[in-house]
């Protein structure tokens, strides 16, 4: 187990919990995320072209 360094940089920073880490590699959730990122980027591109 890695312990945080008290009063060090890591002491003041949020880190992901087990469920968040699971979701980052969960294929079904990531397929949804893939579509979501692409949608976000498409909107960005459309808004950026003048």
């Amino acid at each position: 187990m890695r312990h945080i360094e008290q009063y060090g940089q890591s002491d003041y920073t949020p880190v992901p919990g087990k469920f968040t880490l699971f979701l980052r590699n969960c294929i079904i959730w990531q397929i949804i995320q893939f579509a979501w990122i692409n949608l976000k980027m498409t909107v960005l591109i459309v808004k950026s072209h003048h």
């Binding site: 890591s10 920073t13 949020p14 995320q33 990122i37 950026s48």
Partner: protein
């Protein structure tokens, strides 16, 4: 028949040339002057730098692509601009010096009707003693991933260090910015995650101390003054998001640092509070500061007029409000940023991508008590650079065809977004990435509470971002090769 010359065949110049040729057809000439025979998808140099991709994966020869497209390709570097021509002939021209095509070292004058400067950055390694080799390239102490060849060298050095770790040695890695006025923190950010991933893969991560060193005021500044995103029911600073990524991987960081000297196993740096420090390393990848490539400009009578066209940093003046910098950070406005990218003195000259001179920083200017400026300079990343190339090509094509008498297409960084995907790992299932978008690049605090549209500014972490990065890699190389359907792939 009009002739458009594009100096620089990188992200912005290649985009401008490809669209200009498509829109102008064979009635007009499109000439690209660029010194490299290979086109490089620079963002993927990161993967070359950890040995996951080869140079061939991230480059391709330009000549056949331009030949097929009907673009006149000159493997040369532009040396000077003569916007008023000569005494005996008013036609504007540039001088070029060949670097290939069997004409190495020869010079030539090329006349133009329109000129686009897309020469990107001079990688100014020599700005920091010991970072450069004194001849403009990376020095012997550190590595770089800014070009494909630099990245190959970086991967070989990395492998050599890992071999020693496998034999039981502990090693210190230092990755970040090599000067207080650097931009392109995103590249260092992505590389440090890739090095961490590579060391884990090689089973030696426990023998490594990995440190990020940056001129940013806080992590996540990226030269755009940081950003805010919606996460977990909060609107939170990108600093929290960035720091979390470092802590999760056990990476240390040093911020507000100006590296002022690099030695064989140590960097010296000053922090914003004016204190001087040292940091030891066994392997270091430090991004150099950027400048303009150092082209000259001459008047009709041959007198030097470089300062009329170029800013002191060598980047080209365009339709930005260059007085705005002096008005102070609090008074900066999105309108300070250029939109048509036309040179104010010569209306047939434009600059796109890193080659244009920004009106001022985006991040707040800061100096140490010793007077050393320590803050990131504005990034001009791939997406905005390509969009600028396309917008300027569209404006010039309209002017050539007589549709418009002035540029009507705009690409202001205050009205454009940017996307950054920092990915690690290889294959479809073995990878992760941080995906971030922001809109607009230059914040607008009058329009948006947090300076940016929170619906267009977001960050997420996971495998999906890694897929997006792969898609971008293959998609953009397909597009750059002008393969079928290339126009459908957005910039």
């Amino acid at each position: 028949m009009a002739r458009l010359i594009i100096m620089g065949g990188g992200v912005s110049g290649h985009t401008a040339a490809s669209f200009a040729k498509k829109w102008l057809g064979n009635e007009h000439e499109v000439v690209v002057v660029t010194p490299n025979s290979l086109w490089n998808w620079i963002p993927s140099n990161i993967f070359v730098g950890v040995g996951e991709m080869s140079k061939e994966d991230v480059t391709f020869p330009l000549a056949p692509v331009y030949e097929k497209a009907g673009i006149d390709y000159r493997q040369a570097k532009a040396v000077s601009i003569h916007p008023e021509g000569k005494i005996e002939d008013d036609t504007p021209f540039i001088t070029v010096e060949y670097t290939g095509q069997g004409k190495e070292g020869q010079t030539e004058e090329l006349t133009y009707d329109y000129l686009i400067n897309a020469t990107g950055p001079k990688l100014n390694f020599d700005a920091t003693p010991g970072l450069g080799n004194g001849k403009g390239d990376v020095g012997e102490h550190t590595v770089s991933v800014c070009t494909a060849d630099h990245a190959i060298h970086a991967s070989l050095e990395l492998k050599a260090v890992v071999e020693k770790m496998k034999a039981g040695e502990e090693k210190r890695f230092l990755i970040g910015t090599g000067h207080g006025m650097c931009t392109c923190q995103g590249a260092a950010f992505e590389y440090i995650f890739n090095v961490d991933h590579y060391l884990k893969q090689e089973g030696v991560r426990d023998k490594a101390t990995i440190t990020y060193i940056s001129n940013e005021y806080e992590l996540g500044d990226f030269g755009v003054g940081g950003m805010h995103i919606k996460a977990g029911g909060y609107v939170t600073s990108g600093k929290v998001f960035a720091e979390s990524l470092y802590v999760e991987r056990g990476l240390r960081w040093i911020k507000r640092a100006h590296v002022n000297k690099v030695e064989a196993d140590k960097v010296h740096y000053e922090t914003l509070d004016g204190n001087m420090h040292e940091e030891d390393y066994d392997f270091a990848m430090l991004i150099p500061p950027f400048a303009g490539v150092g082209m000259k400009a001459y008047a009709k009578d041959g007198s030097d007029m470089t300062d009329v066209i170029f800013a002191p940093n060598g980047m080209m003046k365009v339709d930005a409000d260059y007085e705005s910098g002096a008005r102070g950070f609090e008074n900066w406005s999105p309108n300070d940023w250029p939109s048509t990218l036309q040179n104010p003195t010569y209306d047939n000259i434009f600059a796109v991508g890193i080659a244009f001179a920004p009106p001022h920083f985006i991040s707040k200017p800061m100096s140490s008590p010793n007077g050393t400026p320590i803050n990131p300079t504005p990034p001009r990343t791939g997406m905005p650079s390509a969009m600028m190339g396309k917008a300027v090509a569209a404006s010039i094509c309209d002017m050539i065809k007589g549709v418009a008498d002035k540029p009507i297409h705009t690409a202001s960084m205050s009205e454009m977004g940017a996307a950054c995907v920092a990915s690690t790992g290889k294959g479809l299932l073995n990878g992760t990435a941080v995906s971030m978008t922001m809109y607009p690049v230059v914040p607008d605090y009058k329009k948006y509470e947090y300076g940016r549209d929170l619906n267009g500014t977001f960050g997420t972490i996971g495998l999906a971002g890694h897929w997006v990065k792969l898609l971008l890699h293959y998609g953009f190389i397909w597009k750059a090769k002008l393969k079928p359907g290339w126009t459908l792939i957005p910039e």
